[in-house]
Amino acid sequence: MKGVVLLITTIFTVSAALQAQGEYAASKIPPPLLKNADAVLRLEDMQFEIINTRQTVTKYRYVVTILNGNGDHWAEYSDYYDKYRSIESVEGILYDANGKQLKKVKKKDLEDLTGSSGGSFADDDRIKRHNFYYKAYPYTVEYFSEVITNGTLFFPRWVPQGGERLSVENSSMHIVCPRDYQFRYKAFMYNREPEITFGKNTKQSTWSSSNMMAIVKEPFSPLWHELTTVVIYGPTDFELDNYKGTMSSWREFGKFVYSLKKDRDQLPGNVKQMVHQIADGVSDPFEKVSRLYKYMQSHTRYVGIQLGIGGWQPFDATYVATKKYGDCKALTNYMYSLLKEAGVFSYYTLVRAGEFSKYITADFPSQQFTHVILCVPNQKDTIWLECTSQTIQPGYLGDFTCDRPVLLIGEDGGQLVNTPRYGINDNLQSRYIRGVLEANSTLEVNTKTVYSGLQQDEIHSMITQLSKEKIKEVLDRKLDFPTYSIRRFDYQEEKRFLPGITESLGITVSNYASISGKRLFIMPNVMSRYTSKLSIDSTRNFDIRLNREYRETDTVEIEIPAGFESESMPVDVTVDSKFGRYNCSVKLEGNRLIYFRSLEHRGGRYPASDYRDLVKFYDAVFKNDHNKVVLVKKDGANAF
């Protein structure tokens, strides 16, 4: 009973506050919250009510004060709806600096837009959007929305600070559910227990936070949940469409995903025949998988169609076999079916894709995935297959899916394992350059560069997705020379487990060196100059997270016009730091300039106190990469 009273009091207080004029006057913001802030979240209150496993209701109110133009994006309301999710009502209010109400809008005033995006060909996403587009700063907007969701696979998360330069005055999250329903949560940077109150048949858990100062991100910052409060929630029992599942463990969640794809692996007779034609008699398991994978690659293409349950359930193998296209789920399931026909077992595998999305809460099962790949267990090396690419090598995963926990889906449920990590011995770039410097300071240069691992991803995309003409257009633009023309170019792929590409270029660079009067200035590092430079922030607050590991080597030999001797040569440099190792050296042998460089860049996590050292390391690389050799006409020789 006490709980009910408390609940009513809360509601009463909130609505009373709303009625009071000027409640949201900008002057009432506690001064510390203005520091580094473009906007202040004055009040946020989300109530997620689990009616039963078939339906939830989300009531969401937030009030945000925009302090300047950079904070305008916080003032926009945008939410999606589809077959399972309906936006019941929306109310928006605009207040001026003094908290005086200027305007009010309802759901019918909102824009209604398609939610289809780049990777998708057809889906049923739509968006409701609204913006007051006010710009007399500071101003305040308030939105209240009620959303009904059918199904309970997706739970909201509570992230009071939705991004940097946003401070928070008060934010709270309530989960309301039947007394006997168990939901789960995992909190980051929040060390209190939720407050529990009970209604007649319901239980309410509340998390709240206030007076959170705005965060300013720093280069190589850790993940957001390591910087500020984030609580994620997940169901135990849940439903989606007519499918039921439980999320108490990865194993259980896996069973649910399995039920969606179960019995979708029948292939038409002609494809079965083809499978046997390709695979029968091939004894080496990797070879067998490779051949079938290449068949799949050359007979299908990616088309993203996700309608209704299609956002979760793959089209069956027959669909892909006849249409010859599908999204990641359909193509992966198709590949799974091809392998199955050939007697090879594989796992349909959920992954959270993206170069910067390597994180999964391993100890907290919940829906965090965005993509599907295939995992083929093999005695030697597990074979990973990305089924949406028509060109990638079997066994190789790029930045999109490598080095992270993924969920293998088997008949007996899910299992979390890691995809391969490509390290400093895999991600390589070795470059050999021979050049002739003409008397008019034009450099005729021939290069050969061998890329491997993640270092070859970008070039792989370029050469497999663009025509020769387009590759030439890219090369004409992207090289770091002032004026140049590409004489010839060639790419050879080494199709192996860890793929490699050899690039050969012939380039004519105008005025590569500067020959003025009696001197010649030339940068011996022709094509591998480090381009970014960090600046030292006054104080570093967060740990440093360095993502990629790689190693580069350069060997350069340039023939220069006769009659020069060295006047100023950069000294040999070796920099050793915990972030990597750099060295370079240059010498003049007769009329040949010989340069060597290597850079090892390590990944990992480092304490904030190391930041100065990191800046120093990058600075040294930057500076030495741009060093010039100065040569001077030998006595008696004629100046140009």
Binding site: Y133, V303, T322, F400, D476
Partner: protein, 670 residues
């Protein structure tokens, strides 16, 4: 914004290649034979991933049952997909116009994929019922889309469809060129004499076939909308059949310094101009004067400017209070609109809300904002008129024809005394009398009684940048200096935005990084940062911290030089369209470092871009005692160059980059 959680949202590698919708050949639907698969490459473009074998369209007019006429557009297209990179042509989108409950009708869609299997042609048909998807983009646009089944390298795909439209002004244009090469591109048009259209052609006008033939057609019009018996009319009318064919059309290429590829595509467009006998004569496309008059009477454009806006006086009065001169009043009103209203759409010619609503909502599209500005100026008894134009990315306009559909932007012309000012209050950082570069696209039209044409020519705006540096030895024998720089208006605009978004430190960081020597910066100041009418002025002092070696090599541009040729590519297909002319001067007075002597100075030179002196590069350096004077000036006073002139531009900047990289060499006194 919240993102929906689904699996399959992400595609491994996604490269977007624009699909242009287009034309045809001698091919007919269903006539694919084995030998059509023979070519593996086509001589027109040996690197092409797909080749359009035929793209054939036709438009004609038919009587409908709503008492009027409809446009019937038919299209047939066949494409040979040569490799994976051409798969994007298998995804087809058809855009339909809609208004309220009415939507243009897509009918008779057929799509078939052909593959060669064991030497035989196999067909896979698109299941039109189940696999055509509809996406409502906004209230006036619906997209129907489908993808071909069973597509692989070497597939031939073909489709045809009909779109019926009740909008006679929506006679489909035809683009003869697109992202893939076309062997045959054809458009047929049958026009009855009772409808007049103006033809607008662009790009290469050499057609392989260009014919017209006169004939007679009969038209049946019924009106079944009213209660009672249906009205029916049948009549014959003279018609003209037009046919345009282009063969072997190259794919479009993307290049830098092009306002829009749309300016270079070979295409033909149509504009409804009049109704003629036996219809009641009506001029649809009028003269500029008439069009301007209509616009001024229209509630979605000028009507509210001419009305007596008594309520507006209450808004205008406090804004201009205390302003004495007309110019002062105009500036106040301009700043008020610019600073208090947000532009939500920068491509719009008409108003969707009335002035009162805009004032209340504090936002509007570019037409609404600048029409509000015009209204407020008029209300303050100033002379002001709206001006319509087409932005650079929207393509050129024809000054000859009053074709509203070509225009997508409204600005304001204010006349104070005998001086005209062009104003645009839709950009927060823009100053009085300044327009963004996108507005300088040639012909624009003032909407008033006389409707005069004006020319907003990019040749007439010059980015003038002036930098001056003084460097002397301080008492400790170190080089210290001061820098003063006045960038051009557009660069000032960009710097203002940078400082607003990221703070002034971002600017100093950039300067330090580019400087080329290790420096300490002090007394950093940016003047006029909050005066968008003016150019900014950057001032700072610096001390060079580099070690004193026996020889000092000094690049005396201090990070201000050209390090890259803006015209990198060795080839050029389309004209160069630069946003403005440039005139950049760098002056330096430098004291020889203490204890050093000059060993070598770069050579001075002056070159002209061409005989007409439409550009020049001046590089002068001289020494007098311990003082070195240096000056670099780069001027280009033309903004439009033909592909023939490209090499000249490229060589000019090649020389600028070369000279800007040179050094002064000092040697320690022995």
């Amino acid at each position: 914004m919240k993102t929906k959680q689904i699996i399959g949202f992400s595609l491994m590698y996604l490269l977007s290649v624009t699909v242009y919708s287009q034309d045809k050949s001698t091919a007919r639907f269903g006539s694919v034979t084995e030998k059509d698969f023979t070519p593996k490459v086509y001589s027109i473009d040996t690197g092409a991933s797909a080749v359009v074998i035929a793209d054939i369209g036709s438009s004609q007019i038919e009587g409908n049952t709503k008492g009027w006429f409809s446009l019937v557009f038919k299209r047939y297209k066949r494409v040979h997909i040569l490799n994976k990179n051409g798969y994007d042509v298998a995804n087809v989108e058809i855009s339909l116009y809609s208004e309220g409950d009415y939507e243009e009708q897509l009918e008779k869609l057929k799509a078939v994929t052909y593959n060669l299997e064991n030497g035989k042609v196999s067909e896979t048909k698109l299941d039109v019922k189940a696999n055509v998807f509809k996406d409502k983009i906004n209230k006036n646009r619906v997209i129907k889309k489908f993808t071909f089944p069973n597509v692989r390298e070497g597939s031939i795909i073909e489709y045809e469809y009909t779109v019926t439209s009740d909008y006679l002004h929506n006679l489909q244009p035809w683009e003869f060129q697109g992202g893939y090469p076309r062997l045959w591109s054809e458009y047929n048009l049958t026009l009855p004499e009772f409808l007049g259209y103006v033809f607008l052609t662009q790009g290469d006008k050499q057609y392989d076939i260009n014919t017209r033939k006169d004939g007679i057609e009969s038209y049946r019009v019924a009106d079944g909308r009213s209660i009672g018996p249906t009205d029916r009319v049948q009549f014959t009318a003279s018609v003209t059949d037009y046919r345009w064919v282009k063969k072997n059309v190259q794919a479009l290429k993307e290049e830098s310094f092009t306002s829009t590829l749309g300016n270079h595509i070979s295409k033909i467009e149509f504009q409804l101009s009049e109704y003629r006998h036996p219809l009641t004569y009506r001029r649809i496309m009028s003269t500029w004067e008439k069009l301007a008059e209509e616009l001024m009477q229209a509630d979605y454009f000028g009507l509210q400017l001419t009305k007596d806006n008594g309520w507006m006086r209450d808004i205008v009065r406090p804004v201009v209070e205390g302003a004495v001169t007309p110019s002062e009043k105009a500036k106040r009103i301009y700043a008020y609109v610019r600073d208090n209203f947000t532009c939500t759409n920068h491509q719009r010619l008409t108003m969707d809300q009335n002035l009162k609503t805009i004032l209340k909502n504090k936002n509007g599209n570019v037409a609404e904002i600048n029409l509000l500005l015009t209204a407020m100026l008029k209300n303050a008894d100033l002379q002001a008129d709206p001006v319509i134009l087409s932005t650079r990315s929207n393509g050129y306009t024809y000054s000859l024809y009053p074709l509203l559909s070509q225009y997508n932007y409204v600005i304001t012309k204010a006349t104070i005394g005998d001086k005209a000012y062009y104003l645009d209050a839709s950009e927060p950082g823009l100053g009085f009398g300044h327009l963004a570069t996108r507005c300088y696209n040639g012909h624009a039209r003032v909407i008033n009684k006389e409707a005069p044409a004006i020319d907003l020519n990019s040749d007439e705006i010059t980015e003038t940048k002036f930098t001056s540096v003084f460097i002397i030895n301080n008492e400790k024998g170190r080089l210290i200096g001061s820098m003063q720089q006045t960038p051009g208006y557009f660069e000032s605009y960009e710097i203002r935005n940078l400082v607003k978004e990221k703070g002034q430190e971002e600017l100093t960081k950039g300067i330090k990084k580019a400087f080329g020597a290790d420096i300490d910066i002090s007394n950093f100041r940016v003047d006029s940062i909050n005066k968008p009418d003016e150019v900014i002025k950057i001032k700072y002092d610096f001390e060079i911290k580099d070690e004193r070696e026996d020889i000092i090599y000094l690049n005396q541009m201090f990070g201000e030089g050209y390090k890259e040729n803006p015209f990198k590519s060795a080839e050029r297909f389309y004209p160069v369209e630069m946003p403005y002319a440039i005139d950049e001067t760098f002056n330096l007075q430098l004291e020889v470092p203490q204890g050093y002597v000059v060993d070598e100075l770069p050579k001075s030179l002056v070159v002209k871009l061409n005989a007409q002196d439409e550009g020049m590069f001046e590089y002068r350096i001289s020494q007098s005692g311990d003082n070195i004077s240096f000056r670099s000036r780069v001027r280009i006073s033309r903004t439009y160059f033909l592909p023939d002139e490209y090499e000249m531009l490229r060589e000019f900047f090649n020389l600028v980059v070369k000279k800007h990289a040179e050094h002064i060499v000092f040697k320690k006194k022995k």
